[in-house]
Amino acid sequence: MRELNMVKAINDALDVMLARDPDVLVFGEDVGYFGGVFRATEGLQAKHGIRRCFDTPIAEGGIIATAIGMGAQGLRPVPEIQFADYILPAFDQLVSEAARLRYRSGGEFWAPITVRSPYGGGIFGGQTHSQSPEAIFAHITGLKTVIPSTPYDAKGLLIAAIECDDPVIYLEPKRLYNGPFDGHHDREIGTWAGHPAAQVPEGHYTVPLGKAAVVRPGDAVTVLAYGTMVHVALAAVDETGIDAEVIDLRSIVPLDIETIVASANKTGRCVIVHEASRFGGFGGELSSLIQERCFYGLETAIERVAGWDTPYPHAFEWDYFPGPARIAAALRRVMENT
């Protein structure tokens, strides 16, 4: 099998779907001729033609709106928003239209669009090129939100998202494009080469939405993560030597609550990790769900490790970023606190 990094895996998924389904369209700013600022759409216009893969003006609201109309007429648009921070000008279209079309038409039509967007920090992007907006999407009923953490999953989840008849926000952890970054920014940073999940099959396959992956089985404590934080959490677990069960959620809507509950009931201890700032973040939902469903199974309070409650801080990137040390400290706390 071939080894691909995450960008190439995403490119491959788009290529497979463009070839397989004439209704699939790929577009966005610099996506066509140039191949995307992160190269995710490289070569697709040359191969599939300018009608299937094309550039757009800078108009995020208009891009998403166009996708909605296409979708309602039966196409499967896959717009790219260059950075997740630029989704906000399109927020109205996503919330008031894309997410709600199926419901308010009584199921007559819907918006089967997949919005791809690189997100997250650790790349010196500053305030508006580093944010993790998943929580605001997770709260919008009618939207699905998917976040891969490996090349294999990136391809399989993206194909599943495109084939899904609901609007999907597909957030790509840009810090993982080239390698499984584990948060040790001060060490040499590895690539995907040699990583088992960089083995990406050719052709069509899916990773189902709503199924978490237990990426490290363990008995002592449950760690919930997604995106870049999966790798950071794994590093922290390694470094503490604690027998943690690390779960990669892969999609936060739909959420694989069964896997989460089973693990939490087994370990009685949970640490939730995300890059987004903590207050009002998705960790709150996860924590409450576990508390509601596993209350009498909990040995200690559920902890959240997250970005600080500040704007994404240009000058304090690695302080803000919930790195292995912060996660390890939380792991130790929940193991001690009984």
Binding site: L25, R51, T56, P57, A59, G61, G62, A65, T66, A67, I68, G69, M70, G71, A72, Q73, G74, L75, P77, P89, D92, Q93, S96, E97, L101, R102, Y103, R104, S105, G106, G107, E108, F109, W110, T141, G142, K144, C164, D165, D166, P254
Partner: protein, 332 residues
């Protein structure tokens, strides 16, 4: 500075009558809606389009069922003009399961794919750029389908308008942007929100034709819509039509109208498109008064039938609450 049409298409007698048929159907439906609300038989905010009947009627005679429209809260006239059947329309207004959206859209989000009524938004501006998506799909499929985006004068000031027109023009999409300029956005006068004397001039900034049209004159609307639709169908791209008109009933039914003078209102209402066109049809021998009265009676009967039908329909059952959120039903 706004464009002037050189070749003016003229509707034949049958088409003129068809325009009137749509207008009177709208008018009878609007009248009945206000009556039902007044009588307390339905509770819903109602944005009457009384006075604006001519615009979608003269356009819709040029459209096919598979041509799409995207409209707004003040859009029932656009739907009725597109010959959306009244029974599912009324059932939806009443929130019943036989409504066109199973009662889940309600009066502000009516849609009916069979007649091309695709998107109705309550958020000003949002439906305009969505129209581009339908148009893209048509391009890709190689059909001649066009999409009409209806919106108000106030809506021409929100960002979505700009993005919609620019995108449509860059991509030469078969869209007709129809601004129903009734002079007010809620209670705010045109000139307090809009920086240009004619919205059609904005077309210049998008490299597309823009026309200011007498929205109360079916022949003027028809001629311009004809040109715009021809242009769209032949792959040349979008057009902006500004149709000047007036909303007789204010913003939302029940509105006080203190924001204009009595004279101003009376003058605007004197240009009622319905009696004017009726008279014209009779004078020009297109139809007799009897024929028109018959048409009116027929429209009225259809409306009454739809209302009684709607009132007799069931409300959606509780399971519907959790259906259509996603493709799969969500757990209770």
């Amino acid at each position: 500075m706004t464009d002037t049409l050189t070749n003016r298409a003229v509707p034949d007698a049958a088409t003129q009558l068809d325009i009137y048929r749509r207008m009177i159907r709208i008018e009878r439906n609007d009248d009945a809606t206000r009556t039902q609300i007044r009588r307390g038989r339905i509770t819903a905010p109602y944005y009457s389009a009384r006075g604006q009947e001519c615009i979608p009627s003269a356009i819709s005679v040029l459209l096919n069922d598979d041509d799409k429209i995207c409209t707004i809260y003040r859009g029932i006239h656009d739907m009725v003009a597109k010959d959306m059947p009244l029974r599912p329309l009324w059932a939806e207004i009443c929130g019943r399961v036989d409504g066109t959206c199973k009662g889940k859209g309600g009066p502000m989000h009516l849609t009916h794919p069979e007649t091309g009524v695709m998107v109705t938004t309550g958020i000003v501006g949002s439906s305009m750029p969505i129209a581009n998506g339908f148009a893209w799909a048509a391009l890709l499929d190689g059909t001649k389908q066009v999409t009409v985006a209806y919106f108000g004068d106030g809506a021409s000031n929100i960002g979505a308008f700009h993005e919609a027109l620019n995108l449509a023009s860059v991509w030469k999409l078969p869209v007709i942007f129809v601004c129903q300029n009734n002079g007010f956005a809620e209670h705010t006068r045109y000139e307090n929100g809009t920086s240009v004397d004619q919205i059609s001039k904005r077309a210049i900034g998008y490299g597309m034709p823009g026309y200011t049209v007498d929205g109360n004159d079916p022949l003027d609307v028809y001629a311009h819509a004809h040109a715009a639709i021809e242009r769209a169908r032949s792959g040349e791209g979008p057009t902006l039509l500004e149709c000047k008109t007036f909303r007789f009933m204010g913003h939302v039914f029940g509105d006080a109208d203190g924001y204009m003078t009595k004279e101003e209102k009376a003058e605007a209402m004197a240009d009622d498109p319905l009696p004017k066109f009726r008279q014209k049809l009779i004078d020009s021998g297109v139809a007799t008064a009897d024929q028109i009265d018959e048409m009116t009676a027929k429209a009225e009967a259809e409306v009454n039938d739809a209302i009684e039908f709607a009132m007799s329909c069931e409300y959606p059952s509780d399971d519907e609450l959790r259906r259509d959120v996603f493709a799969e039903e969500i757990p209770a």
